[in-house]
Symmetry: C2
Subunit: 234 residues, 2 copies
């Protein structure tokens, strides 16, 4: 009987924002995998580092951090092969996922390669979306509002078109795209309705008005939340 593949959401970074379920499943796993940069420590692993046991086999999936997506594909192919061998041998494998596995998670790459062959379970986690809103004290959406979640990596025209229509929006994956996002929000008259959140729930957390952000310093894991003032929510 083959093992089960688990996608384990470990939340935004604060080790206390992990669910009881993720910790319980993690304890029982013989094999634990996680994404990591080419060189250096895995963020997802760091969140639950104190919960790992030396008896657990660890697989670091070293994803090159490039602007293009293509180079990562052979990495996921190889990781899926390695994980598949454990699963075939009957060993459960958990993949640690920052935030939630199915919300822009690299776990989706492994899910698409393995879930047709092996039993797969996903343990949802606190996503960066709700963690940033909580950190900033900014309600995301209420009542019959529509929420639009946009990666800042999109082209300027596409981003602007969607933000123009949006009642409430979260713009993810800022990094070097911050100046573009700021330009668009200024043009739309939404700059003063935008809150910048960096490293939500970590000690390094920063909450700033969009105006006050140094565009050279925005990390990939930062977000802008926008909420129109149009409607009184009461």
């Amino acid at each position: 009987m083959s093992g089960t593949l688990y996608g384990l959401g470990v939340g935004p970074g604060d080790p206390e924002l992990v669910t009881v379920k993720a910790l319980r499943v993690l304890r029982g796993l013989p094999v634990v995998a996680y994404p990591a940069p080419s060189d250096g420590a895995s963020f997802a692993r760091s969140v639950v580092a104190s919960r790992l046991s030396p008896a657990q086999t660890e697989i670091a999936i070293r994803v090159p951090m490039t602007r293009s997506v293509a180079p990562a594909q052979p990495v996921y192919d190889r990781a899926a092969l390695e994980i598949g061998e454990h699963l075939r041998a009957g060993r459960d494998v958990g993949v640690l996922c920052q935030g939630d596995p199915f919300f822009y998670g690299s776990f989706i790459q492994l899910f698409e390669r393995l879930a047709t062959e092996f039993p797969t379970k996903v343990v949802p986690g606190v996503s960066s979306l709700t963690a940033c809103a909580a950190a900033a004290g900014v309600p995301l959406v209420t009542r019959d509002e529509i929420l639009t979640v946009l990666p800042a990596t999109l082209a300027e025209a596409a981003l602007e078109k969607r933000l123009k229509q949006a009642e409430a929006a979260a713009i993810l994956k800022l990094g070097r795209h911050l100046p573009k996002v700021r330009r668009i929000l200024k043009r739309l008259g939404l700059a003063d309705r935008a809150t910048y959140v960096e490293h939500a729930s970590l000690e390094s957390q920063k909450i700033l008005a969009l105006e006050d952000v140094d565009p050279a310093s925005a990390p990939y894991f930062s977000m802008v939340l926008v909420r129109r003032a149009d409607r009184d929510t009461r």
Copy 2:
């Protein structure tokens, strides 16, 4: 010194999908409030019932379940007054929130009435959004995809316009609006890309193709996830 108001996300329903932080904060609270129907038990309370102590003062915020929003306003006004008295007396008050407090949470009503006067902290939770995706085994969004979150309570034309543009969508608060949502998705040729999820993470959880849902039976806490096949995510 006044007490602190906490919005505590307790997740989608499975008591194991509560975070370590929410449980730790909950233990230390002298006063615990939660939304409840006019008559009957509170869902949010039920998730953490085994963690409550008889020493804690409980406030049930009894919200009438009507189609119109207006009748609830005096309820939140009164609840804010009652909670405000505890805070003013220096007692911390936690409001239990199904899912996440800032993601369509009724906590936003209390936040808007109290956060300007009292220190307020929000503990994010696993939202219904990621819980439904995990339950259904349907990735929400990947790469540079845009996610649109829509309440089914919107007018048919507005819903259709947004769904037409959407790459990936989650349609919440289905209930009696299910036939309308199904009509729209059929017209857009998206019906076979839609997964229905009811009571995610609970024992009563149901995952169905949209075609197979009895429209009379969809509860308010159900969701349809839509993902276009356009792009290969690899």
